[in-house]
Subunit: 450 residues, 2 copies
């Protein structure tokens, strides 16, 4: 008998939608990505659907002028995630609030404080998506020419998270007496100065914010490399990952859960949530029409750039309706790109069909169909040990989120796979994660006595 | 005839009140400083009173264990100001939102982005209180043992603000076309990469947030040293300052405004707002009772610490009700401290009376009286060229803010010195500050042709 576990769902908006042409859709407010009213409305819809959380990525650079779409992308601007999430904390009461902050360009004290503050403001609903940042354009905004090596970035990230988590535990839960009669505001014995001297950071501590209402903010992570998986297995409580097929998802899921178990963690306390881009309709045909409507809004100027990024070659001399040719490739042409080109030729795709196919869901699961069909697919992944839930990469907004909340969520509820109402108030409550023990309290003895 | 200019008012909460014993007052929610509901209620009261802004200081360290009050202070924790202000942006519609962020422990790209984001979220209501941070406890949370020298801190701050302001101007106001038909989201000619290579910072730019709805966030500053005044005169649009008397305020006001004029600025575009701690009552006696009630809540354990800080000597062996003695002081005893001791002896103060007097308003104006009396004092300062308005250092909350909004504001309105309703939507509108020209646009020729 298959397990019938709860499916976790996060809403992941990116500007006005994950689809590259979302802003051109007639139903989309093209300026939404810069306004609180747009995001507030999304967060309130997500909360109406009792979703676990809303999730924001980040990039600390405008990708310009590298982005040769010269004016054709809506993604050159992006609100700073922690201020945006704080504004949404004031506009919601239950929804989890997860934001991306890099370990490469901040100091641990800042990050500990941001999320501790967001957690106080939201009553224990915050999560930190830890990224190490691999983009040189970001490095160049912070006194560097290029990013550090992959290994160095992960080494720094490990120490960074160590320091942040120790700072979060500066105060014991019951440190604050606030006893007006005696005049004692806090118990000094329950404050722990978190002095740290390491390779990358020296921090005296303590943090000047009480311990989180949920113990600590939730650690989210999205690395897929070997270092990234190790980091996930040892530190993450939610893993966001790109898995295009159930087969790939099962392999990733088994690997990360096994690594977590090997370090002594309970694998159930690490939730794996692959990205999924959903197009949901009353009929399968309607869902397909929604998808194609957006695909048709990709202009050739943008399509050529997309192909150039994926293939490494400029094909802008080819008309969008001409068949993609078998190019003469040099022997050192990257094999992954060659596979793509062979596919286009074999399937007799036009240039337009080729770039439409490549844009797709960017390596994530693409789910197009009725709510029942999408729910079937989600159940298959969760029951097949490929996922504990999904991070919804909503293609165009607010419609794609409305479809989730108004069609998919009721379907999952009917199947007993999704909550009808929030049972708790914190992000840990929604995710079924335990409150972590305060690192500064005496821990239970782990070794046996001789 | 005296000028009858508008008086600007900012609300400056510090935890549950600026008075050291505020948290012990029976009407004060002692845990307020950690909750959104407390600050939201304050912000909404300030907005009901059509105040110009709410202002938050900051400190990136818990002052512990330096603070020998060992558990008797409520100020060991403090929410991070930009996340707090973002939450308040979502809870208000007009109130200006000013937060303190240090130039010593951040990078300009971060700060440009935080305030640009807060400005988008709030529709143009943000202000940045620029501080250079002089506290070693903060430095120790950021890989340093001590703060940089005063001169270095100000040199860094100048470059920091240069970079931030250039980044804020990355996009021209009308850069975003968002033309769905043509597919052009922005005009690349109206995007300006703000590459900077300086002494302290290298930043490529551009900022990935549109220009502010008010042009740029307002620059606020609070330095009183010679470097601080120069910085204020050249950069600040609001100056927060501690002036205990009209005489001192007039000298400061004249100096900073003259320095601003000397750099070619319009002195009217620099608003000087001294701090004031108000105790307002229906009668003068009631106001005095409010003051004394808080003073009586200062315990000897805290009073001794306060005296130790101000005098540099421990007097905890003296009972609170014993007269303060003429101590035998060494010849190198600091003269400022000796003046205080002489005053205590001359006025025959008990130890309790001495520490109550020293706590006072911490160098700021202390205004105790009826709304009419406090309004008289404010008018005298503004008409006497000592101030353009005041930053209200509310002694205990929420009551002291309620008194301002329910008693002082109506009095100032009756006198024609305060707005009855907001006339604009941005902080610049409230302060009467112009929208700054975009630094990247062609500027009017300043030199004469030969």
């Amino acid at each position: 008998m298959p397990k019938r576990s709860h499916i976790h769902l996060g809403a992941f908006p990116l500007d006005v939608g994950h689809h590259i042409a979302a802003w051109r859709h007639p139903d989309v407010p093209a300026d939404g990505g810069s306004t609180l009213s747009f995001y507030r409305s999304l967060a309130q819809t997500a909360e109406r659907g009792t979703l676990d959380m809303i999730f924001f990525g980040d990039q600390m650079a405008a990708q310009y002028p590298d982005d040769e779409t010269v004016g054709r992308t809506s993604r050159v601007t992006r609100l700073e995630p922690t201020t945006l999430l704080a504004a949404l904390a004031a506009s919601t009461s239950h929804l989890g609030l997860v934001g991306t902050v890099s370990t490469s360009y901040f100091e641990p004290f800042h990050v500990a404080r941001k999320f501790a503050s967001l957690d106080q403001l939201s009553g224990g609903r915050s999560g930190w998506n830890v990224v190490t940042s691999f983009n040189d354009r970001e490095a160049q905004n912070f006194n560097q020419q290029t990013v550090r090596s992959h290994a160095q970035r992960y080494e720094r990230a490990q120490e960074f998270v160590d320091v942040v988590q120790a700072l979060w535990d500066s105060w014991e839960e019951d440190a604050f007496l606030r006893d007006k009669a005696s005049g004692l505001f806090f118990d000094p014995n329950k404050l722990h100065v978190q002095e740290h001297r390491g390779t990358y950071f020296t921090t005296r501590g303590p943090l000047n914010i009480p311990r989180s209402p949920q113990g600590q903010p939730v650690i989210v992570q999205a690395g897929s490399s070997s270092d990234g998986r190790h980091f996930a297995a040892t530190r993450a409580e939610v893993v966001f990952t790109a898995q295009p097929s159930l087969e790939a998802a099962r392999a990733f899921y088994a690997d990360v859960k096994a690594q977590a178990a090997a370090t002594g963690r309970d694998p159930a306390h690490l939730k794996i949530m692959p990205g999924v881009m959903t197009f949901i309709g009353a009929t399968a045909a309607e869902a397909r029409e929604k998808y194609e409507r957006l695909q048709d809004l990709i202009e050739p100027e943008v399509g050529w750039i997309v192909l150039k990024r994926h293939l490494g070659i400029d094909v802008s001399h080819l008309g969008p309706d001409s068949p993609f040719p078998q190019l003469a490739l040099t022997p050192d042409f990257p094999s992954r790109q060659k596979l793509l080109i062979d596919m286009a030729v074999k399937e007799r795709l036009t240039v337009r069909q080729f770039y439409q196919k490549v844009v797709g869901a960017r390596g994530h699961l693409l789910a197009i169909g009725t709510a029942a069909q999408v729910a079937d697919q989600m159940e298959a992944w969760v029951d097949g040990d490929g996922a504990d839930g999904f991070n919804l990469m909503l293609p165009w907004l607010p419609a794609a989120l409305d479809d989730v909340v108004d069609q998919l969520v009721p379907e999952l509820r009917r199947r007993g796979r999704f909550r009808h109402a929030y049972r708790g108030k914190t992000l840990r409550d929604h995710l079924g994660l335990p409150i972590p023990a305060n690192l500064n309290l005496p821990q239970p003895l782990e070794q046996e006595l001789p």
